[in-house]
Symmetry: C2
Subunit: 455 residues, 2 copies
């Protein structure tokens, strides 16, 4: 009996950019069993050889195509045709597959039909412990649709069989947040409103919508980035010490933060980059935001009063995802010093593109005068790891193979993050059109409080 990976949407971007390189890398590390089959499912009528030849145009990494050709099976598939699922089932039985996950690398609107037919064809029954189904975000487009999708899923599958991928959770520094916070008591004990002045959760992109215009225009930055990545980062950086470090205890602690997050609506700021309306498949009257800034607070004793700044958008000055924790200075001490710049004291967890930790704290400048300056301590994760830093997808695929759920989102995480988005009444706001990041930030600072974004 053998394992298999089945990917719906095998001619898509995700397959070419993430899944194929990750599978290749896992083979290189002998982390996939030799007899594991990879079923590549798509609607294009072609041979495996044609599929591979075409894929070579899109996969940028230097993968071992010969090996992949040996492991791959290409399956022409109409997702609406129940017979195709049955044929797939026979094929798997013939291949003696008893452990498989079905990866739905397809637009979310196709989740219901594929789920239904996978269930009807008995590719997965609720009794199959070693069969599971994997979804990419977004899990719905709002609370209602997410609930409806989920209700649908639960009809066919047990929650344990459902794996919801947020690839951000697979990133090294995201996995690292809890270790940094809790394996170091110094950080752990200072993680409160006595020490922390503010937190910024940032995901900036330099590119525009590229080829994703059609999908993106129906979604916008708030749902595309804030609901998932930014809120996940927020939860990890703010959560209480979990009762233990099992997947479910961590998820419990995160969900608690989602429920305690209060958004300050007055400080909501939306932007749309100049030229967005001319992008392919974008409505020429679209008011979809490509930039969002908002401010929240965690409504508990420990973090009461600590502003959390969220900022994400496209066509900004650089690609950068990071969390910045600003610590307080001691005013009574600083009064004795000259030239004190406030907020020198911060911990930055860099998530992308480079990974690392930057810790900056106040010291007395060397010399006869009393001047405070900042000591900058840099730890570059990617540098030290050399080529060893695995792409998030490797980790996620490996966990999928091993049925480890830590890095996948549970339904109540989805539900509570959509509930947050639900509370943000952004539909009536016309986004500000920005031509550059500098201009955007200057406009933003004029509108909201001065400290709204201080990186």
């Amino acid at each position: 009996m053998a394992k298999a990976i089945t990917i719906f949407g095998s001619t898509g971007n995700l397959m070419y950019k993430k899944i194929i390189p990750a599978i290749d890398s896992l083979y290189n590390q002998n982390l996939i069993e030799e007899d594991t089959k990879i079923y590549c499912i798509a609607r294009r009528d072609c041979t495996l050889q044609d599929y591979i030849e075409d894929a070579k145009n899109y996969v940028k990494e230097d993968v071992d195509w010969e090996r992949l050709e040996e492991k791959f099976t290409y399956i022409l598939f109409d997702i609406n045709d129940g017979d195709h699922y049955k044929k797939l089932k026979s094929r798997m039985e013939k291949d003696a597959i008893d452990d498989v996950f079905f990866y739905l690398a397809v637009p979310p609107r196709l989740f219901p039909i594929i789920s239904k037919k996978i269930s009807q064809s008995k590719l997965i029954t609720k009794e199959d412990e070693n069969k599971r189904i994997v979804f990419e975000k977004p899990f719905g487009e709002d609370l209602e649709s997410a609930k409806s999708i989920n209700k649908n899923l639960w009809q066919y599958f047990k929650e344990e069989q459902i794996y919801r991928i947020d690839h951000y959770l697979g990133k090294e520094m995201i996995q690292n947040i809890l270790v940094i916070r809790f394996a170091n008591k110094l950080f752990a004990s200072g993680w409160n409103n006595q020490s922390i002045e503010s937190i910024s959760v940032v995901a900036k992109e330099k590119e525009g919508v590229m080829t994703r215009g059609g999908y993106y225009d129906t979604i916008g930055a708030l749902k595309d980035m804030f609901q998932s990545h930014l809120l996940q980062m927020m939860a990890l950086i703010t959560m209480d010490h979990p009762t233990n470090f099992t997947s479910s205890a961590i998820k419990d602690a995160k969900v608690k933060m989602f429920k305690q997050l209060k958004i300050k609506e007055d400080d909501l700021f939306l932007g749309q980059y100049e030229g967005y309306l001319n992008e392919e498949k974008v409505d020429s009257n679209s008011t979809t935001e490509t930039f969002v800034y908002l401010k929240g607070y965690i409504d508990n004793e420990r973090l009461k009063g600590v502003p959390i700044h969220f900022l994400t958008g496209k066509k900004l000055d650089e690609k950068r995802s990071e969390i910045v924790v600003h610590f307080k200075d001691d005013k009574t001490l600083l009064d004795n010093f000259e030239n004190v710049k406030p907020k020198n004291n911060k911990l930055i967890i860099r998530v992308a593109p480079e990974e690392g930790v930057h810790f900056q704290f106040n010291i007395k400048e060397s010399g006869l005068e009393n001047i405070i300056k900042q000591a900058s301590l840099e730890y570059c994760h990617t540098c030290n790891a050399l080529t060893n830093s695995p792409e998030a997808y490797e980790k996620l695929l490996l966990d999928l193979l091993n049925q480890t759920k830590t890095l996948f989102t549970r339904w109540d995480e989805i539900e509570s993050t959509w509930e947050i988005v639900e509370t943000i009444k952004h539909k009536h706001i016309k986004p500000y059109v920005y031509s550059s990041y500098e201009e955007l930030i200057s406009k933003l600072k004029n509108q909201c409080e001065v400290d709204c974004y201080d990186l």
Copy 2:
């Protein structure tokens, strides 16, 4: 009217190694007024030119001798002869000096006679606000002698006129400890027994007693280093937040720590380096310790149970003074990880010879496996300051000129540190003779608890 600096012991090591280079450097920075006179007092019968020529053999720094010759006045002096003090007084009046400090760079046994005669000759009266007297440590050789010296001093001078130098307090990183601790709330709030596992206060020397054998043999490491430098470092690293950052509030907070320090006598360990008995002017049967390790605790709620390891000695593996704060790990988190080495998490404040801060904390190793490793963050103070790091004595002399008392020790600091030494019954212990640091530490670890010194 003008200022003056008067140094008793101008042909001594301290004058050549520290005071002359510091004075020269202050002139370079225009921090000494042009008409300030420097009276160099010693018992050698020679001219200023002879004195300078001789000094050139001892001063290693490249100083401006021409300028110094212009500022210096050499005074042949018998400290027992009252007339010499009177002549000095006349000389100063002639030079129109109204602001002066008398720096006693002489062995402590001479403090009483010089103090008495300075007072009798009215070089300083208790009414002179701009006249002050400066002592080098040690301030006595035990509690009793310190008290007696001090009683003596108070007879002649007001406490405000008395400056007790501990040159360690002038070192950059010592001045920096309070800034690092209190200007960074993250550190401030984690400074307790919830976060801190242990503290090590270390001053290792590579050299032996050199030419100081005669003096050292009557004193030993406990009084020479522990009573002053080590306890001062301990107080700064453990003290509560002072009510404010004035000199006197900081001293209050330090004295509180001296009083709360409890020494664990069982863990006292004394050593004497091989060959010490053959050193010049050392008693050939001496049981004076050249190495001391001991363990203490601060008896207050905040630091209850945190062991403080003191270690100092001569002829060790390297010259190094530093404070190491070990933070706790989170066992419940670490249980999920492989290959966890405990105590990865520490802050090292490097005092000498290099100055800097080293911060080491736990992160997850990059990769698909769960391994904790340490991220090392280095801040080299001396590196960033380039040539700008002032010798401790520059800072001390400048503060003496400006009557700033922060870096000088107050009587109750002296008293309470001698009280600590008094409680340590070390006289009956024969020191262990060590030939190398490795051997010494191995012996030490056998004797005391395993964690007695874990750098």
